[in-house]
Structures are given as structure tokens and as C-alpha cells.
Symmetry: C2
Subunit: 338 residues, 2 copies
């Protein structure tokens, strides 16, 4: 841990300089770093490839250099706090990264300690879905919500839950894994170990898998043409494009996706009765093909929560969601200190 | 609303008398009323039949008289606050009872107003499952938990969720309806309007229905004997007794019940990662036939929350859960006022 007495002295010494937060968004392919004012306005921003194949030490040193650059860009010597969003699993209490699938080699990396030693300030780490939930809640779609559920439908399905304005962490910070609800009792095995998880049925990976399975017996139609005749090149985008072109097999796959998602979203609404459900991630690029049918399907499942009061919306932060979320992680912890 | 200035004066006048709370538990067949100290210890307790057929006015006047009796029993003139637990739907913000199925005729009854006018003190109302959740959290199984889910498996399946020590109300106080998660996509129609709800599959009513359906094609075996040959007399108790006697059809029904419940409980754990899930209600009288197999089945569904840290337990308050819950409702609101 860094020296908190030293921290106070040095904060005094920084008088006159802007009070800035740093957000670091660590993904499997790229890292984004930004400085922001306490109100959330981004001051400076930079990106770099993660180069995950070079190992955590290499990447972390590059991240530190990038943070120094954005601090320079912003005319600040040292941030008030640093927030980090990173693929899980990780331990937010200890600030340790615990072998995320998208960061091979990041095994028990004490990232908080490393960054605290480097920047001599508070560092807070949370998983990327929780960070995104906080980011959208504070600075994006959810600024007027008090209970918010964030769901990201991407290669996997992740989530974060805000209750009364604060992130719900739960036992060992494991709450919010909305993608691992059981939707089909005897569904396909999920990589988590369960069967029929929402993620195993409706993630981008699962949509593509179901499309390929359907094409194995019905190989004619738009999807194969779009994929250039190569079954392995069928993706969620293929399905969505074929739906727009009126392909019936693609429509079946897509309708099934909407139904799976609607059960997951309806269960969460029935359980938590949130003001807002923000649904983001690559699969939501389907736009109108996703949100409108999903709202309709959720309406057939939810009767005890007044759905006219629950907004089901797209995110507002766009590609900045990662860094803004990381900044929101830092802010929530600073406020938590009172 | 009662006069808050008057309240303060009158509290002063009560100096020397014990500071007591009143809890009122209004059920479809009986009403229980108790006084308790702020620490939760019950001082006096009385019960009466609801006599729901005589209408709300009659019952409410009897409740008022019963409250006066327990206050007399306790040597207190007036309580600090009154908490009420009652079947939903109801509006806890307005304190209005909104036609609960178990209280026919209680349509838009402004119960809080009536009781405040009568007792000149704060009155707080919540639904019975939320009250039970708060009761178990404060004074029962959950005293060491911080996030707790309470599930009651009875004629219906209800629930209440405590997050960071406070009841999660959600939009129009509709959160916690765990019984209305979709468990089977194309399952039977639930009376809520959805299909395949946990309640429609695993409540006492649903267990009996599934048993009768199974017996229609396979009428031999222990269940029919226990029910005296009358299919209409087959209940959850019949199923449980027949399971203990080794009946294979009953065992099928029961195993299916455990699987449905395990999906519902696992989904809640995966979403909220609570410290504790308290499962009560008439169906849990099956005891060892329920808790041990349920824990095992949940273990096959939950992989991302460390289950060794999540207690799945029976309630501790027994038949007092209703009044103690009502008292806990009052306490939570008093504290909320800071």
C-alpha cells in the first residue's frame, strides 16, 4: 500500500493543478487510458494495443508510460485516484487480477499494488462489466436511474447491477453474472460448468454456433452466401444481415436469440424491479432488430413489475464506456470513503 | 397523516413507559399482533381469525381492538411505531392495500391512514414476504448476513431481497418476485400471465397439481392410498409422505420440484451473490427431503459465485415470522429517518 500520510502532503503540494482522475480500461486487444475531471468530463485520452502475447510485465510497463503521457497531456502531475476496468475474474478488494481468459498469463497479478507504488495514489480495480455499469449509471444512459442493470451481450454475456446508486458486489465480488442464469434446463453445456446458461444460448459465440448447426442441415439461403460458402465464417453479423435480407433460417435463429434474451432480462426485472436495463455489447449492433422485439418479448414475461416504468435501452457511452467506467469505479470508491 | 408535532409532545408525555413497537401480521385466515422492544424481544402477543368474509371494515376494527389489548398487556399507552405485513399487492409508499387475492374486498384500503389516525403514530406497511425477509435478516437466520434473499415456498412462491442491510423495493415496490422467474420457456401458464414461472411449477399448489396429473395415468402406488383413493385430496404432504415410503411416482414429482427450485435459487444466487438464502413456507416442512437435495442441485448450476460462502438455510422465526417481520418493517423505516 502507498503511504497515506505522504499522499496528503503531496496533494497539498499539487495545489493549483487540476484535480483529475485516471481511468484505465484493459481489454484483450487494446488498452485505453484517460484523465477526467471529477464531474466525468474526459480531459485527455490515449490507446494502445495490449500485445497480450508479450506478457503482463511488458503490458503493465506500457500502461504506466501511457498514463504518464495522458497526465502530461492534461497538465497534471498526479491523479487523485486511478480506476481500472479489466476482464474478470479478479479480486477488487485486494486489487489482484486472477487469470482472465482474455489476458493469458495475468495470473495473480497485484495490479493495484503495482499502480499504487507507481503513482502514489488510490487505485481501485473492478471487472469490466461492473465498470461499464457504473459508467453508464453515472455518465451515460442511467443518469436518472437509481437501480440499474447493465448487460453486455458480446462474445460472452456479462452484467453489473447498481442498487440505490451503488454497485452490488456480493460475495467475493461475484454478483451480476446475469449471463449465467439457467434459461434452458437441459441446454448445452456452458463453459462455466452449468447447462443452458443465457451466455451459452444468446452470446455472439452462441448465436454463431446455433446458426452453423442450423446450416449443417439446411445449407441453402442467404447466410452461406454472405459467409462466402464457408460455414466457419458464419458470425452473428452474418445472421443479422441475412435476417435483413429476409432469410428464414436466419430469422429462426434470431427469434430464438430474442426469446432467450427476453427470459434472462425478464427474470432480472422480476427479481430486481430496476428503473433501467441498459443492454450493450457487440450483438446489440443489430439495433432495431434487437431492442424493439426484445422489449415486446419481455412484456410477455413480466407481469408483476410495472414495465412501463422500466426503461430497456442502449448504452450512451459508446466506445468510451471502458475508460469512463474505470473513472466511475474510482469515483465510487472515493465517495465511499465519505 | 397524523400530526407530527402532536406526536413529539405526546412522546414526551409517555416518559417512563417502555418504548414499544407494534407488529401486525394480516393473513387470509388469521391476524397476529405483538408488541416488541426495539431490540426485537416480543413483550405481548395475541391472535384472532381474520374472518375475511365480514369485510375489511369489520376486520380492521377488530385489529385495532387487538392492538389496544396487546398494548394493555404490555403496560404501554402508545407505540413508537406500527409495522404491518400483509399479502400483496399493496403500495408501501402510500400505505394502501390493493386487492390481495387472500383478502377479498380489501380494495384500495388506506390502512396506514386508518391506523395512523387511530394510534397517532408512524405506521409502515409492506408485503408479507418482504416483512418476513426483514424479520429473518434482523432477528432470525440472517443476523450475520449483509445480503440476504428470503424465499417462501407455500401455496405461491414469494420473496424478499435485502441488499446492504436494506430491503430492495424497486419500481413501485415490486422487487423480489422470485417465484415469477421463467424456469420453463414453454411451461404451464402461471396466474400472473407468464408461462413456466417457478411458482407455477414448484409451489405447493403446483406440486399437488403435477402429482394429480401423474396419478391420472399411473393411479397405483402410495399417493392414492395416502389420499384415501381421492385424487382431489392429493397435496404436497401426500407427495412428501409417499416419497418417504419409497413411492417411485412421488419421487419423480419431488425430484422435479427440487430441480425447478434449484434453477430458481441458482439464478438468484448467480445474479445477487448473497451471503444467505433463507427458504421457508409450508413446502419446506419436507425438511431433510428439501434442503440437502436442493443444496446439491444448486451446486450443479452455480459456478461463478463461491457457493461455500452462500448459506442456504431454513428460517429461524417459525410461526412468529409474520409479526416479527412486521416489527422489522417498522424498525427499518424508523432508522431510515436517521
Amino acid at each position: 500500500m502507498f503511504d497515506k500520510a505522504g499522499e496528503t502532503v503531496s496533494r497539498g503540494a499539487q495545489d493549483g493543478a487540476a484535480k483529475l482522475l485516471v481511468g484505465i480500461d484493459i481489454g484483450g486487444t487494446k488498452v485505453a487510458v484517460a484523465t477526467a475531471e471529477i464531474g466525468g468530463r474526459i480531459v485527455a485520452k490515449r490507446k494502445m494495443p495490449t500485445e497480450v502475447e508479450k506478457g503482463p510485465q511488458y503490458t503493465i510497463q506500457k500502461i504506466i508510460a501511457l498514463v504518464r503521457q495522458v497526465l502530461d497531456d492534461s497538465g497534471a502531475a498526479r491523479p487523485i485516484a486511478v480506476g481500472v476496468g479489466c476482464g474478470g475474474p479478479l479480486d477488487p478488494d485486494e486489487g489482484v487480477i486472477l487469470s482472465p481468459p482474455n489476458l493469458p498469463g495475468w495470473d495473480a497479478i497485484p495490479l493495484r499494488q503495482i499502480l499504487e507504488d507507481e503513482f502514489r495514489t488510490y487505485v481501485y480495480i473492478d471487472n469490466d462489466a461492473n465498470a461499464a455499469a457504473l459508467g453508464e449509471y453515472r455518465f451515460g444512459a442511467g443518469v436518472e436511474a437509481s437501480n440499474l442493470v447493465y448487460i453486455t451481450v458480446s462474445t460472452g454475456i456479462g452484467g453489473g447491477i447498481i442498487v440505490n446508486g451503488r454497485l452490488l458486489q456480493g460475495i467475493r465480488a461475484s454478483a451480476g453474472e446475469i449471463g449465467h442464469q439457467t434459461i434452458l434446463r437441459d441446454g448445452v453445456r456452458c463453459k462455466c460448468g452449468n447447462r443452458g446458461c443465457l451466455e451459452a444460448l444468446a452470446s455472439g459465440t452462441a448465436i454463431a454456433r446455433r446458426a452453423r448447426e442450423a446450416l449443417a442441415s439446411r445449407p441453402n439461403g442467404r447466410m452461406m452466401a454472405i459467409a462466402g460458402g464457408d460455414l466457419q465464417k458464419v458470425t452473428t453479423e452474418t445472421v443479422v444481415q441475412a435476417v435483413r435480407e429476409g432469410d428464414s433460417v436466419a430469422l429462426e435463429i434470431w427469434n430464438e436469440t430474442i426469446e432467450y434474451l427476453s427470459i434472462g432480462v425478464a427474470n432480472v426485472i422480476t427479481t430486481l424491479a430496476p428503473d433501467m436495463v441498459v443492454i450493450g455489447g457487440g450483438v446489440t449492433e443489430a439495433g432495431d432488430l434487437l431492442y424493439a422485439p426484445l422489449r415486446q418479448a419481455v412484456g410477455k414475461r413480466v407481469f408483476l413489475v410495472p414495465l412501463d416504468r422500466v426503461k430497456i435501452v442502449s448504452p450512451k457511452l459508446g466506445t468510451d464506456v471502458g475508460v469512463v467506467g474505470a473513472i466511475a469505479v474510482a469515483l465510487q470508491h472515493l465517495e465511499g470513503k465519505g
